[in-house]
Every structure is written in C-alpha cells, then in structure tokens.
C-alpha cells in the first residue's frame, strides 16, 4: 500500500463515505473491545478500514491509551529539534556560534579555487575615485612617514629585514579593475595597481608551504591571511589606485588588495609582514578577534 499512487489513495479516502463507515463502525467497536480484553495487543490496524493517510500509512482506530503511547513515542523522536535549543542557553550560545563560524570558514577554505578568478571590469564600470569610500576603524591617516617608510619582513622567509617601496615596485606590476566588497553589504568597483602576492613572496624568499601571512599596520590594525589566498593571481600588494600612488586615506604607501576577500581583510598602511604556520588566538585580525569570520572569503 505505501507505494500506491497518492491520487488513488486520495480517491479511496474520499470514497470513504459516511455510509461505508457507519456500516463498519460497529465492527470496529467490537474489535477494539475484544482487543482491550487482551491487554498489550498489537497496534490495532483495522484491516477493513479503507483508505490511508497522506503519508501512506493505514488509517487506524486505536484506543486512547494506545494513542497516548504513540504520541509519546513520536514526540521523543523530535528530540533532535531540542538540541537546537542549546542556542538559547547563555552558557552554550557563544561556543556554538564560534563552532558554526569555524565550520563555515573551514568550508569556505575548501571551496576556494586557487585559480578561480574574480570578475574583472572594464574602465567604464569603475566607480569614480571620489565615490570609492574611505573606510577606517580608527584614524583616516595614521601619519606614516612616507619618506622613511620600510616594510619589515619576518618569519619563515629566507630574506627577512627591511624592504623599501622601490624594491616592491621593481616587481612586475599588475593593474586590475575588481570589486571591493564590504562585509556591511556595499561594494564598489575600483582600479588597483600593485605587485602580485606570489611575486612578493618570492622576493622575500618565503616558505611556500607556510600556512599564513600575518600583517601589522601603522594604525595598529592587524590581519592574517591564508597562504592560498596570498598566492592567488589577483592578490596584490597594492601601492596604486586609479593610476596614482595610494593616498593616505586608502592606506599609503602599501595595502593588501584581494578581490577574493572581504574589505576588512584588505589591511592598509602595512608596516610588518610575517610568514608563519601558527596564528595567535587573540591576534588573528582586528575584527576577527571581535567575532568576524576569519576566512572572510568571497
């Protein structure tokens, strides 16, 4: 019966006219009465009853006690729903949400295509420079001494030390029109120029098997990026926007620009980069340490 065509089932259910049922009713009553006499009888499926419920199960006539027993059993089977109730318990809430976010980040990393490119746009689609928002968490201009500026390179690299902007600019330059997406929901298409992350890592002799790149900024901002993203062909150590050197509001003299990451990952005013295999729990990123997704990938 379970595999019956539902249309037929419905037909049968509707065939179950009052006349039919009235004729059967006394028999049902007798049956359940006799079964009551033999306690703990099997579930009383009334064989003579035509029709099944919408789920394909026979419609049954049962005692109230049996109904109570079934209801209790079926209710217990919904226990998994109560597990979600753990989110309502203050003590468990944040740990559970942290797990949820960590799982989403893990899945995001798996999904990331190392060679999958973000869409690039024609110059016509690029927002005017005046409409590219200045976004900062603290100060719009941390007062970097652009003349004396050097980038400190540390960690798992063959050539640690201080790097001048000219050394970075001597690497092949990439200019691209890509979408900058803010976690808040807005986005803007901009023009960015800089050197590829992969070329920069080669310059400093980074251990290509290392897992993370940490960066620290002149405005005390800090970030960490998974190595797969640093090596992505569209990831830039960006020193130009709209054909001009980065201005102070956009992170002069050097910032990250990764069209596969959200805006808060694109650290500005870079001071220090560090290649590492271990992230410090409370130094994963300025916003990440307050609850944003660490992966922040697009």
């Amino acid at each position: 019966m379970p595999d019956d065509n539902p249309a037929e089932i419905q037909q049968r259910a509707s065939d179950d006219t009052p006349e039919n049922r009235e004729a059967e009713a006394p028999q049902e009553a007798r049956e359940s009465q006799s079964q009551e006499a033999a306690p703990q009888g099997p579930e009383e499926v009334v064989a003579g009853m035509p029709g099944t419920g919408p789920a394909g199960e026979p419609i049954r006539v049962i005692s109230l006690a049996e109904r109570k027993r079934i209801n209790r059993r079926e209710m217990l089977k919904l226990a998994p729903v109560l597990a979600v109730g753990a989110f309502a318990v203050t003590k468990f809430r944040q740990p559970l949400l942290d797990e949820g976010l960590a799982f989403s980040d893990w899945a995001s990393g798996k999904l990331f295509g190392r060679h999958r490119l973000a869409r690039t746009f024609s110059n016509r689609d690029v927002a005017p420079f005046q409409r590219f928002p200045y976004n900062f968490y603290d100060v719009a201009d941390p007062g970097v001494d652009l003349e004396a500026w050097t980038l400190t390179v540390q960690g798992l690299v063959q050539r640690p030390g201080e790097y001048k902007l000219e050394q970075i600019q001597a690497l092949p330059k990439v200019v691209q029109n890509t979408r900058h997406v803010c976690v808040e929901g807005w986005d803007v298409i901009g023009n960015f120029g800089g050197t590829r992350g992969s070329d920069f890592l080669r310059l400093i002799g980074a251990d290509a098997s290392a897992r993370f790149l940490e960066v620290e900024c002149a405005d005390e901002y800090y970030e960490s990026i998974d190595m797969a993203t640093v090596l992505h062909p569209q990831t830039l150590f960006c020193y130009e926007m709209y054909g001009q050197p980065l201005d102070r509001g956009h992170g002069a003299p050097l910032r990250l620009q990764m069209p596969t990451k959200l805006g808060y990952k694109q650290a500005k005013y870079l001071n220090t980069v560090r290649v590492t295999n271990v992230l410090r729990a409370d130094k994963r990123g300025y916003w990440e340490d307050q609850g944003y997704s660490w992966y922040g990938g697009l």
Partner: protein, 230 residues
Amino acid sequence: MATTAAVMKPTEVPATVTVSYEHPWAVRIAHWLGAVAVFVMIGSGLRIFRAFPSFGPKIPQQDFVHIPGQFTIGGWLGGALQWHFTFMWIFVGSGLMYLIYQLATGHWRQVLFTPRDIKGVWPMVRHYFLFGPKPAVDMAYNPLQKLAYTSTVFLGVVSTLTGMVLYKPVQFWWLTWLMGGFHYARIWHFAAMCGFVAFIPGHLIMVALHGWNNFYSMITGWKRDPEYLD
C-alpha cells in the same frame, strides 16, 4: 484479565479514536528545524541588512528602510553574521531533508502546486477570508495550502541560491551571473525574506484557526479524526 470483557457493561466500551499518519518523522523534523532556522535567518539577516540598509551605492548612500534593532538577532553586525553563518547550515539541511523525503516517497505530488490547482485557490480564499462556503476537500492539501507550501519551498531555494551568491560571489561566479549580478542577488535575497515574512503570519493564523488537534499532528505525526473522513 480475561474476565474484564465479561464484566464490562456496554456503556464502558473503551473509547477509541480514528487516527491518520499525516506527517512522517522526516517532515516533522524538517518543519521544526526549518521553522527555527527561518526565524534566526530573518532576525540575523535584518541585523546584517541594518549595517547597510540600501540597495544602491555607498556614496551617496540612500537608505531603503530603517530596521529597529529589537526586531533583529545578534546585537551587532559581527554577532548577526555568526548566527547567519551557523543557522544557514540548519536552514539548508532541513530544506534538503524535506525535499529528499518528498522526492523519494513521491509525496511531493500531494503538495506541489500545479496549474490545475489555480482555479481552486480563489474558492479557498473566499472561504477563509470572506466567509464563503467551504469547498469540497478531496485531497490531502487544498489548492491554497499547496500554493502556500510550494511557495515556501520556492522561497527557500531562492534565498539559498541568492545567499550563496552573497556569501561567495567569486566561487559561485556562474550563480552570480545567473542572478543578474551581486546587486540583484542582494535584492532577491531580501525579497525572499519578505516572502517568508508574508507567509509566516498567514500560516500561524491558519494553524490557530484549525485548532490544537491539527497543530498537534505536526508534533506527533498522527492526526485524530482527520477532516478528510468527515
């Protein structure tokens, strides 16, 4: 024990009830997990939207609507994103569970709204809202129910696909393209949410009107004295 029947007088015939299995376990689990997930996704989604309540550019920003904080979940953007990125798995998981069950059992035929159901919608609306006569019930779900439940599946699919675009526009570049771009995905995502917001009060009113027995069947699966036997 055997004597019980003999002693029993006719007036003491044990009470029996007719019950029908309406909602299998998979459907009930999916329903309640989905209900919780939709609630959380809407609440946290509104808080996320509040961070940039516009569908236009950032400069100049023109807000579309202001969403009062007390209608939201998460407390701040980062908190709301945690809820959203956690419950999205429950939302999609319960939805997939429901769809797989419906497809595997063939029960989708009972609930899928098809063009044949169109003509039955208005009589049901007239019955519910304008005190019209009750149309004859000859199927498990009436045309208005089919429309409502099929709509929620549609809304679930749309909110999932558009959500995937907003979450990973680069990785799901083909979906981004299909949705008409990142901006449109954001609009469709919001629209799907509005669809759920429209469905929920109607659904709750109907549940309230149909009483405890009907509601209880979504918990235990078995409905007492099903109306299609009347």
